[in-house]
Symmetry: C2
Subunit: 235 residues, 2 copies
DNA sequence: TGTTGACCAGATTTCATATTTGGTCACGAA
DNA sequence: TTCGTGACCAAATATGAAATCTGGTCAACA
C-alpha cells in the first residue's frame, strides 16, 4: 500500500479536524488548502497524499461528520427503539443537523454556490441515510406507510422547505428550530406513518434490524474517507 | 383625483401587459422601464404617472396576476365546492402557479436575487391568499385540522420545498410537476385535514363563505394596483 | 520512502472606466 | 390648466485589464 500515508498516526484525521474547524470559522470559499496544512502542522503537498482535490477533502469532512451523526442516531435508537418512529426519527435528525456546526456550514456552502458542486458530496451522506434498503425495511415493518407517492423524494422535498428559510423570510417572521422540528414531526406523524402505532415487539425487531443495516453500511464509507484512490462509490 | 391618469382608457393595463410580456421574455433584471414604455407605445415618464418605482410597477404586475389566479380558483370552487378540500385546493393551486408564466418568472426573480427585495410584493399575494380570515374559516368548518402547529407557516414551508427544486437536484433526479402535485396532495390530505371528510352540506356552506370572503377581499387589492398614491396597505 | 514548499496555470479579486437605467422635471401639446 | 414626454442626471451596473490568490504538481530533499 504505497500511497497510503502512515495510517495509524491519525494524520488524516488531524487534517480533517483542521479543515472542519476552518470551515466553520471561515466558510468553504475562504478556506485554503494551505491554511489547512498549516493548522494541521504539515506541508501543503501532504494534504494531497490523502485526497486528490479540495472537493474530495471536504467530501471526506462531510462524510465523517455524517457518519458520526448516524452513529449518534443509532445510539439513541439503542437506548429507545421508539425513536425509530419516523416522526421522532426525522425531527430528531433535523435537530441534530442544526446542532452540528460542520453540517450547518456545509449546507450553507451548498445553498450559497447555487451550483450543484456539492450535490455529489451530499449524495453520499444522503445515500448513507436514505438508502433504499432502509426505506424498504421501514415499510416492511409497517413504520412508513406503503402508499406515500415517491416516498424518498416527497420526504426530502418536504424537509427541504424547513431547512431553507425562504418560507419564513417570505412571511417576514422568524421560526426557531424547535418549532420547525415540531411542524416536521407533526407532518411525518400524520402523512408518513400508518394511523395505528406499530406493535412494540415489532418495533424493537425493526430497530435492531435498522441498527444492523447501518452498522454494516458504515465501514465502507469510513474507508472511503481515508482512501486515496477511487473517485466514487465506496462499497 | 388629479394624479390618476385617464382611468377608463386602460393605459395602466397596457403598461402592465407590456411589463408582463417582457418579464416573461427577458426576466426581471433585463427589463427596463424604457422597453416597457416603448412596447406600450407611450413615453417613459408616463409610466411614472402610474407607479412611483419599477419595484412598485412589478408589484402591480404580480398582484394583478395573483388576483386573476384567485379568481380562477374561485371559479373552480363555484363549479365544485369539493375543491375546497385542502388537498385539492392546495395541489390545484400548485399546478395553476406552474401554468402561469408570469408567476413563474417572478418567483424565479425572487429566487435568483436572494435578497428579499421581493418579499413585500409576495407578501401581498400571500396575504391575499393566506389571510388569517381564510384559515380561521377553514378550521371552523372542519376543513383544516385545528391542531396543526403553526398552520400557515408549516403549510408554506412544506410547499416551498416542492416549489424550489433543491431536493430533486440533490437526489440527482427529475420530478415532474404533476408528481409533485400528487405528493403535496397526499401530505395535505393526511397531515392537514381531519381524518373524516366533512359533511357535504357543511362543505357547500364553507365554500360559499370562502367565495364571499375573497370576493370582498379582492377589490381593495385591485384598487391598489392602479392607485398612484400610497406605498403600502390596500384596504 | 515519505514529505515538502517553490512553482505554475487558471481562477478570482480589484479597481478604474464605460455604459446602462431608474427616476425627475422643464417644456410643449392639447 | 392638464397631461404626456424625452433629455437629463446620479447611481447602479457592466466591462475589462492588471494584480493577486489558490488548487494542484513535482523535483528535490530528509
Amino acid at each position: 500500500m504505497a500511497e497510503r500515508a502512515g495510517q495509524a498516526d491519525g494524520r488524516a484525521d488531524r487534517i480533517l479536524d483542521a479543515a472542519a474547524e476552518l470551515l466553520v470559522r471561515l466558510g468553504y470559499r475562504k478556506v485554503t488548502i494551505e491554511d489547512i496544512a498549516q493548522l494541521a502542522g504539515i506541508g501543503k503537498g501532504t494534504v494531497y497524499l490523502h485526497w486528490r482535490t479540495k472537493q474530495q477533502l471536504f467530501e471526506a469532512v462531510l462524510l465523517r461528520e455524517s457518519i458520526s451523526y448516524v452513529e449518534q442516531l443509532l445510539d439513541g435508537l439503542r437506548r429507545d427503539p421508539a425513536m425509530l418512529l419516523p416522526h421522532r426519527f426525522v425531527s430528531e435528525s433535523f435537530l441534530m443537523v442544526g446542532d452540528r456546526s460542520v453540517l450547518r456550514a456545509l449546507s450553507e456552502a451548498y445553498v450559497q454556490q447555487r451550483q450543484h458542486r456539492f450535490a455529489d458530496a451530499f449524495l453520499h451522506s444522503q445515500e448513507l441515510l436514505a438508502s433504499e434498503r432502509f426505506y424498504g425495511l421501514m415499510i416492511r415493518h409497517g413504520l412508513f406507510r406503503d402508499d406515500v407517492p415517491n416516498l424518498s423524494y416527497t420526504l426530502s422535498a418536504m424537509m427541504m422547505g424547513f431547512h431553507l428559510n425562504d418560507a419564513a423570510d417570505l412571511m417576514g417572521i422568524e421560526v426557531d428550530t424547535r418549532a420547525k422540528a415540531e411542524s416536521i414531526s407533526f407532518i411525518v406523524r400524520h402523512a408518513f406513518e400508518p394511523p395505528e402505532p406499530p406493535d412494540p415487539e415489532e418495533l424493537a425487531k425493526a430497530a435492531s434490524e435498522v441498527i444492523d443495516v447501518f452498522e454494516a453500511l458504515i465501514p465502507p464509507y469510513r474507508t472511503w474517507i481515508y482512501a486515496y484512490e477511487r473517485t466514487h462509490e465506496p462499497g
